[in-house]
């Protein structure tokens, strides 16, 4: 990466609550200047399609190391992150061994250093030992070691009593409990969102109520615990239904210390994709199905669409995007879940859950912006200041992304830095591309910070 002269860009700075025309200059791979433009200099800049924003923060990713390096390594995962515009990534603890004690975090940090990546890696520690839901992990030691939250992600905290204790115990540590809301008694063997598509395809239904009852439980517990214990925080990750979003909206209005995130795939894709449809949630016909709308584009049962929670229907996706717009949703998180092909090139029911999502997040969410479902500023905030607030970190200075919102690119195995090629977008042309990501570095004089480009197309 050498020189880059972006004299006419659209700057979005959610920390300052400002967006507008600007100019930036990169020399020798170093971002030298970012300037707001006004008056005559600024005219016509909003339609250049180039957006500059703070570096994105992903609060929910699976980089698989240690334990599943055939699916992803820290090095490839961080490269994928930079490629997708994420300059900070927070990993989940479902590694092997589980990140339930500081030694595992040290090993991960060793891998980060060895990777040479400048992407910042943060980590959630497990809530319970081995994510088994039985006894609390060493939350205090993990906090001392620097985790930014606690989660048993993928294994919902089944015991309400454990959740209650975890919330209380983590509060004085200043850290949130990040719950994956799912009532497992309703999802035993479940394959796809309960609804017309699952019924017709003969897939075992995964009811919206499985998520919504877990959200209700979590909020009821939170309501009680936060009356006794100051600083309690609950974060609900990858919400997927309109009913969950409504509950969070009401809980926030009532003053509960709750935050939530949604994934790009739950915003953009629907269960109709499992039937073979290939329309984004905001496109006409996306709420229909191949049998009534003639909306079939490809074969059904593509196992790359098997994800937890499942892809929902159009109304749910719309509710999630509307909640990004009104800031009920605090963050957009990728739930990047790379898998080796042997775990995905199998029958739908046998396939591992998850979508490789770091590198396609930007074009997916920009699609929603383009369709008018959420303003650009809200989406950028949900990728930057929102997750920073949840993770309790300052906005990294000098981390920026340059996005060409109009550029089209085709998702191919070679175009993804992630080892996980498991994406339903494979082979599709997407609009919106991260051209440059930079991270902040101390400047040569040591007095301030400049931004160094870490990824460039």
């Amino acid at each position: 990466v050498t020189d880059l002269d972006l004299s006419r860009v659209w700057l979005v700075d959610p920390a300052a609550g400002r967006e507008g025309p600007g100019e930036l200059v990169v020399r020798d791979g170093i971002l030298e200047a970012v300037t707001w433009l006004e008056g005559a200099d600024a005219s016509g800049i909003d339609d250049t399609g180039v957006v500059v924003a703070p570096g994105f923060i992903d609060l929910h990713a699976h980089l698989r190391e240690p334990g599943n390096e055939d699916a992803e390594t820290i090095a490839t995962g961080l490269a994928a992150a930079a490629h997708g515009g994420f300059t900070t990534v927070c990993v989940m603890p479902n590694t092997t061994p589980t990140l339930d004690e500081p030694g595992v975090l040290a090993a991960i940090r060793g891998a980060v250093a060895a990777s040479g990546s400048a992407v910042e890696l943060l980590a959630h520690g497990a809530v319970t030992v081995g994510r088994a839901g039985e006894t609390l992990a060493a939350l205090g030691e993990l906090a001392d070691a620097g985790v930014v939250g606690f989660s048993d992600d993928g294994a919902p905290i089944r015991s309400a009593a454990i959740l209650r204790n975890a919330l209380a115990y983590a509060a004085p540590l200043g850290l949130p409990i990040v719950d994956h809301p799912e009532d497992a008694t309703q999802t035993d063997g479940a394959e796809a969102n309960e609804g017309l598509v699952a019924t017709i395809l003969g897939l075992r239904g995964w009811p919206a109520a499985a998520e919504e009852t877990a959200v209700a439980r979590d909020l009821a517990i939170l309501g009680e615990v936060c009356r006794d214990v100051p600083g309690v925080r609950l974060h609900l990750t990858h919400l997927s239904t309109a009913g969950s979003i409504d509950q969070v909206r009401r809980a926030k209005a009532a003053g509960l210390p709750v935050t939530c995130d949604v994934t790009p795939h739950h915003l953009a894709l629907t269960d109709a994709w499992i039937a073979g449809a290939r329309r984004f949630a905001w496109e006409a016909g996306a709420d229909g199905d191949r049998w009534h709308d003639d909306a079939i584009d490809t074969r059904p049962y593509d196992s790359s669409l098997r994800v937890n929670p499942p892809l929902r229907d159009r109304a749910d996706a719309m509710a999630c995007l509307a909640a990004v717009a009104d800031e009920t949703v605090d963050a957009i998180a990728t739930d990047h879940a790379p898998h080796a092909s042997v775990r995905k090139d199998v029958e739908f029911d046998q396939a591992a859950f998850g979508i490789s999502g770091l590198e396609t997040a930007v074009p997916l969410v920009l699609g929603g912006v383009r369709a008018g479902w959420a303003p650009l500023e809200s989406v950028i905030a949900a990728l930057t200041t929102g997750p920073a607030r949840i993770l309790g970190i300052p906005m990294p200075q000098g981390d920026r992304v340059v996005i060409d919102t109009e550029a089209e690119w085709v998702v191919t195995p070679e175009s993804l830095f992630s080892l996980g090629k498991n994406t339903p977008l494979m082979g599709r042309s997407l609009r919106g591309r991260v051209d440059v990501a930079t991270v902040g570095r101390p400047d040569r004089e040591g007095g301030g910070r400049v931004a160094e480009a870490i990824s460039r197309r």
Binding site: L196, I200, L201, G202, I296, P300, S303, V342, V346, E347
Partner: protein, 343 residues
């Protein structure tokens, strides 16, 4: 890659093939390479299958029930789920057409050692399979097989999703007794939720214009009310009810579905006894249907549970016809697919 895409257009006219000549040498208007589901079959397709099955019935009535149509073709029957009647029916059908038949039961092959479906399909193809008949417990598995297999895939039942040959033999059986199913009241009774037979029959019977009713305890109809409200496809409505009285009243056909014991363990039903009492097809209940209404069952039956023994063996039962017609239907489908299968 799928028959659903390739097979959209309706065929203008149905030409009944002569089954004594090589498949593919006559223009019969069949364009599906695979038979994975019945949702993409047009009325003309259904008609062609029925007429071809008529021709196969004629073959079955010959002193030597065998034609050379599939001579030299390898039909591999790969079953991942226990089955007697469907597997044997396919085997008999393929042999009647002079195909070379290879039988693979998943429990006795390398599948038990953890080989993936994709690898198994590639292996059987390398061993010479040209047509693959497959049964699998996971919905959608045949679509995965069809993606990697160079020949034709016939779905012999996948999970809860589809059992195309069963629905076609059911339609054939009804048509041979009733003439046409158009406007006829047909009841599918029992465990609809877990039934690929029910799902496939929804497509074929609504396409053929039947007045279709699904009946059972509400726990076993979950999701079907919404589907019925929308219709199987545009304009193809059907009915869903838990009232067996409403369902059976003046019915022309009653098809009982097998109830499995696992349904009690998962809390969907209190007991088999209660099911038999409330939804079992008894002579008294059958009497509320039209006189002479047909009794059907895809098998295997739990006599005394979903169907009373005297009803199963009674004068109105066409259950053994279903079995015989199954061979003719499977011969017809093997023949039609062989005409478009790349070999």
């Amino acid at each position: 890659v799928t028959d659903v895409i390739e097979g959209r257009a309706d065929t203008a006219e149905v030409v009944v093939p002569s089954v004594d000549v090589e498949p593919g040498t006559q223009a019969v208007g069949w364009r599906h390479r695979h038979l994975l589901d019945v949702d993409g079959l047009s009325n003309a397709d259904l008609d062609l299958v029925m007429r071809t099955a008529d021709a196969m019935r004629e073959v079955l009535a010959r002193p030597i029930a065998k034609v050379p149509a599939l001579r030299g073709r390898n039909v591999t029957i790969l079953f991942y789920e226990a089955s007697t009647r469907t597997r044997v029916s396919f085997e008999v059908a393929a042999k009647n057409l002079s195909a070379d038949v290879v039988n693979i039961a998943a429990s006795t092959s390398s599948v038990a050692k953890g080989e993936s479906l994709v690898d198994t399909v590639r292996t059987v193809e390398a061993l010479g399979a040209q047509m693959l008949v497959m049964r699998h417990s996971v919905s959608g598995a045949p679509y995965l097989a069809a993606e990697v297999f160079g020949g034709s895939v016939l779905n012999g039942g996948d999970g809860w999703h589809a059992h195309p040959t069963q629905a076609l033999l059911d339609l054939y059986t009804m048509r041979s007794r009733l003439g046409s199913v158009e406007g006829r009241k047909i009841v599918i009774l029992g465990d609809v939720l877990h039934s690929r037979v029910a799902r496939s029959n929804i497509w074929t019977l609504t396409a053929a214009g039947a007045d279709l009713w699904l009946c059972g305890p509400a726990t076993l109809l979950r999701g079907f009310e919404a589907w019925a409200g929308k219709g199987a496809a545009a304009g193809r409505r059907f009915h869903v009810t838990s009232s067996i009285e409403d369902a059976l009243r003046d019915a022309d056909v009653v098809m009982a579905l097998r109830i499995q014991r696992e349904r009690m363990a998962s809390g969907l039903l209190p007991s088999l006894r209660e099911y038999a009492a409330r939804y079992g097809l008894t002579a008294a209940r059958l009497a509320t249907a039209k006189p002479g209404a047909l009794v059907m069952h895809p098998g295997p039956m739990n006599e005394g549970v979903e169907i009373a023994p005297d009803v199963a063996a009674g004068a109105q039962s066409v259950i053994t016809d279903q079995v015989t017609n199954g061979v003719a239907i499977r011969m017809a489908l093997l023949y039609l697919l062989a005409g478009v299968s790349p070999t």
